[in-house]
C-alpha cells in the first residue's frame, strides 16, 4: 500500500515537473516558421543569412573556363560532362589572363598592364581588357567591380587580396553540362578549379531552384556566343 501511494506520488510529481518545463516554452517566441509563406531567409522572422561559401547550385563562368576537365575528373558521381575541341597546335583562343580578387569579395578579370603578367599585389595594378560578366544578375552584382566604367581599371594594393593567373585557353568548349539532379554537393570540383570559375552559389537562387521536370535540372553552360561576339573582339582589341 505504501509503495502504491508512493508510485502515484512519483507519477504525478514527474509529470508536473515536465509540465513546468513545457509551460515556460509556451511564453517564448516560436522557433518554427511556416515555410513557403514565411521564408527562412526573408527578414520576417528567424533572420538568418546564407553563410558565405554555402554549397548551393553549381555555376560556371564560361568566360574564365579553360576546359581543363579537372572538375569532370574529380566529380565522384560524374555529374559534369565536358566536350571540347582542341585548337590547332600553336593557336590559342586568348592569352593568359589575371584574375584580381578584391578584398570586398568582388573580382575582376583582365590582362595586367606591363610586361610582368604575374604581378604581385605590392603596387597598384592596372587591368586592361576587363571581360564582361555573364550569368544571373545576383552573381554579377556580387562579382562586378563597382567602378567598372571602362575597359581599363586601376586597383590599389589595399583593395587587392590576391591575384590568380589564368592559363591560356586552348579549347573550344562545345558542351559544359552539369546535372544538378546527380550532384551530391561535395564541393570537390570547386576546389580543384584552377581559374576558380566553377563556383557554388551561396545566394538564395543557389539554394532554391526546384523544378517540375528533372530534365530542367541539367544546366547547360554555353560558350559559343562569347566566341562570336565579345570574346573574339576582345582578343583583337588586345592584340
Amino acid at each position: 500500500m505504501d509503495k502504491y501511494i508512493r508510485n502515484i506520488y512519483r507519477g504525478v510529481y514527474t509529470v508536473l515537473v515536465g509540465m513546468r518545463v513545457t509551460i515556460k516554452q509556451f511564453f517564448e517566441p516560436n522557433v518554427t516558421h511556416q515555410y513557403p509563406y514565411e521564408h527562412d531567409y526573408e527578414k520576417k522572422r528567424n533572420v538568418r543569412e546564407i553563410p558565405k561559401g554555402y554549397r548551393g547550385q553549381l555555376y560556371n563562368r564560361m568566360e574564365d573556363c579553360i576546359g581543363c576537365k579537372k572538375c569532370e575528373m574529380i566529380c565522384p558521381v560524374d555529374c559534369i560532362t565536358i566536350t571540347g575541341t582542341k585548337l590547332p597546335k600553336g593557336e590559342q583562343l586568348w592569352d593568359s589572363m589575371n584574375i584580381v580578387h578584391l578584398k570586398d569579395g568582388r573580382e575582376a578579370i583582365g590582362i595586367i598592364e606591363g610586361d610582368d603578367k604575374k604581378a604581385k599585389s605590392e603596387d597598384s595594378v592596372t587591368l586592361t581588357n576587363i571581360t564582361s560578366r555573364q550569368g544571373p544578375q545576383e552573381v554579377i552584382d556580387r562579382l562586378e567591380p563597382s567602378g567598372d566604367a571602362g575597359r581599363i581599371q586601376t586597383f590599389s594594393s589595399d583593395e587587392i587580396s590576391r591575384i590568380v593567373t589564368r592559363n591560356p585557353v586552348v579549347f573550344y568548349l562545345d558542351q559544359f553540362d552539369i546535372d544538378m539532379s546527380l550532384c551530391m554537393y561535395c564541393g570537390l570540383c570547386t576546389e580543384v578549379c584552377p581559374t576558380e570559375c566553377l563556383t557554388m552559389k551561396d545566394t538564395l537562387a543557389g539554394v532554391e531552384y526546384s523544378k517540375f521536370d528533372r530534365s530542367d535540372l541539367i544546366f547547360r553552360f554555353d560558350k559559343q556566343e562569347m566566341y562570336n561576339k565579345s570574346g573574339t573582339e576582345d582578343i583583337e582589341a588586345a592584340d
Binding site: 507519477g11 514527474t14 509529470v15 515536465g18 522557433v31 561559401g53 551530391m184 561535395c186 564541393g187 570537390l188
Partner: protein, 401 residues
C-alpha cells in the same frame, strides 16, 4: 436474436498454444530509424523471435570505393552515418593518414590547428547526434515534446557547421591531412573569433538544458516505466555481440577509445567516460534500455567539457592542411578504429600503391548493435521492441552502407 443463436451454435476450438503469427514491422515504421524490416514471430503479444531484415539502404559504398580515389571517398562516408557525418569523415581520414605514414619518403604531419578543429567539430557533432537520439527515443516511447526541443538545439549546431563547411548534413569537411579550406577560417581573424563566440554562446545556452531534459524525460515516471529493466544486455553479451560505444558502456564496461587508445589529441583533454550503474530509485539495472539512454545524456556533458577546454586554450595558429601533393599510399593494409557517437567505427583499407584502394571495409557499430536485437527481444512484448531499437540508437545508413 437469430444471429446470436447461429454464432453460439458454432464450435470454436480454443487451442491453448496458438500458432505463431508473423508480423512485419517496418520498413516504413516511424520507430525503425530508417528502413529496417523486423519479422516478428508473435505468440499473442509476446515476441518469440524478431528477425531484422536489412539492406533497404544498401548503396554499395564499399565496392563503389574501389573505383574512387581517396579524396573522392570522403563524401560517401558522409552518407554512412548521416547523423554524425563529421565523425565518419574523421574515421576514414585517420585510417588513410595512418596508411600514408608507412611511406617513409613522405614526411607529413597533420597540423596542430587542424587537429584542434577536428576535435572541436567532432565533439559538437557528437552532441548533435546524441540530441537526435534523445529526441527520437522520446518520440518512439510516446513523448513528443522532447523531440521538438532536441531539434531546436540541434538546428543551432547545424547552423554552426554550415558556417564552417558550407553544408548542413553532408559536410565533407575533414580531409586527408587536415580540414577543408572551402570557407577560410584565418587564425586571429574576426571570422574565427565570431565562430568561437557562437560556440561559446551555444554551450552556455545548452549546458543547463541537459538537466532540464533530464527532468523532462529521463526521470519521468512514464518513460522510466517503459525503459527500466527492459532488455537487459549483460556485459558478457555486449562483448560477445561486439556492441561498442554507449551500448557497451550502458552494459557497465568501461571502454572508450578516446581515452583507452587515444588517437589525434584526445590525450590532452580531461574528460570522464560515463559508465552505467544501478539506479534503484527508478528501478534501473545495468544494461537495460534506460542505462543505454542515460549514457548518451551524460556523454553530451562530457563533450561540452572537451569543447570548453578547446575554447579556453584557443585554436593554435598555423595551416589547416598538411602539404600532401597527392594521396597515393604505399602498398599495405590498415585497420584503424575511432570512437564515433555510436561506437567503434573502423576502416580496413588495402592499398596496392595506386590512388585507389583495392578493398575497403567499414566496420559499423550499428550493425553489431542491431545483431543483438534478436536475443534482446526474446520473450518481451511488441511495445518493448520499439524501446529496444531506440535505445541501441541505430542509423540504417550505417548498417547497410
Amino acid at each position: 436474436m437469430e444471429n446470436t443463436q447461429q454464432t453460439e451454435s458454432k464450435i470454436i476450438e480454443l487451442k491453448p498454444f496458438a500458432d505463431e503469427m508473423v508480423v512485419n514491422m517496418g520498413p516504413q515504421h516511424p520507430s525503425t530509424h530508417g528502413v529496417l524490416r523486423l519479422e516478428l514471430k508473435l505468440d499473442g503479444e509476446v515476441v518469440r523471435e524478431a528477425i531484422p531484415h536489412i539492406g533497404y539502404l544498401h548503396r554499395c559504398f564499399e565496392k563503389h570505393s574501389e573505383n574512387l580515389s581517396y579524396p573522392q571517398i570522403i563524401p560517401f562516408t558522409d552518407r554512412m552515418d548521416y547523423v554524425a557525418a563529421m565523425n565518419q569523415n574523421w574515421g576514414f581520414c585517420l585510417a588513410v593518414e595512418k596508411l600514408l605514414e608507412a611511406d617513409e619518403s613522405r614526411d607529413f604531419e597533420v597540423p596542430e590547428r587542424a587537429e584542434y578543429l577536428r576535435v572541436l567539430i567532432c565533439e559538437l557533432n557528437r552532441i548533435a547526434s546524441h540530441l537526435l537520439s534523445f529526441g527520437t527515443y522520446g518520440m518512439d516511447i510516446g513523448a513528443f515534446t522532447p523531440f521538438l526541443y532536441a531539434f531546436r538545439d540541434r538546428e543551432r549546431l547545424l547552423l554552426l557547421f554550415e558556417k564552417v563547411c558550407g553544408a548542413r548534413l553532408t559536410y565533407n569537411y575533414i580531409r586527408i591531412g587536415g580540414v577543408s579550406e572551402i570557407i577560410p577560417l584565418e587564425p586571429g581573424s574576426i571570422t574565427e573569433q565570431n565562430f568561437l563566440d557562437e560556440i561559446e554562446a551555444f554551450l552556455d545556452y545548452f549546458e543547463p538544458l541537459i538537466d532540464v531534459y533530464n527532468e523532462l524525460l529521463t526521470k519521468n515516471s512514464i518513460f522510466a516505466e517503459r525503459t527500466t529493466g527492459v532488455a537487459v544486455m549483460s556485459a558478457e553479451m555486449a562483448l560477445n555481440y561486439g556492441a561498442t560505444g554507449p551500448n557497451l558502456r550502458g552494459s557497465g564496461v568501461d571502454w572508450d577509445l578516446r581515452r583507452d587508445e587515444p588517437y589525434s589529441i584526445y590525450d590532452r583533454f580531461d574528460f570522464d567516460v560515463p559508465v552505467a550503474v544501478d539506479v534503484p530509485e527508478l528501478g534501473s539495472v545495468v544494461g537495460d534500455c534506460w542505462s543505454r539512454y542515460k549514457i548518451r545524456m551524460d556523454e553530451m556533458k562530457e563533450s561540452v567539457r572537451i569543447v570548453r577546454q578547446i575554447l579556453a586554450e584557443g585554436l593554435p595558429s598555423g595551416p589547416v592542411m598538411a602539404d600532401l601533393k597527392a594521396v597515393r599510399p604505399p602498398k599495405g593494409e590498415i585497420y584503424f578504429r575511432s570512437e564515433a557517437p555510436r561506437g567503434e567505427l573502423g576502416f580496413y583499407i588495402v592499398s596496392d600503391g595506386t590512388p585507389k584502394p583495392v578493398r575497403l571495409k567499414g566496420r559499423s557499430p550499428c550493425f553489431s548493435a542491431l545483431s543483438a536485437l534478436q536475443e534482446l527481444s526474446q520473450g518481451l512484448m511488441v511495445a518493448d521492441i520499439i524501446a529496444i531499437i531506440g535505445s541501441i540508437d541505430i542509423v540504417m545508413g550505417e548498417v547497410d552502407r
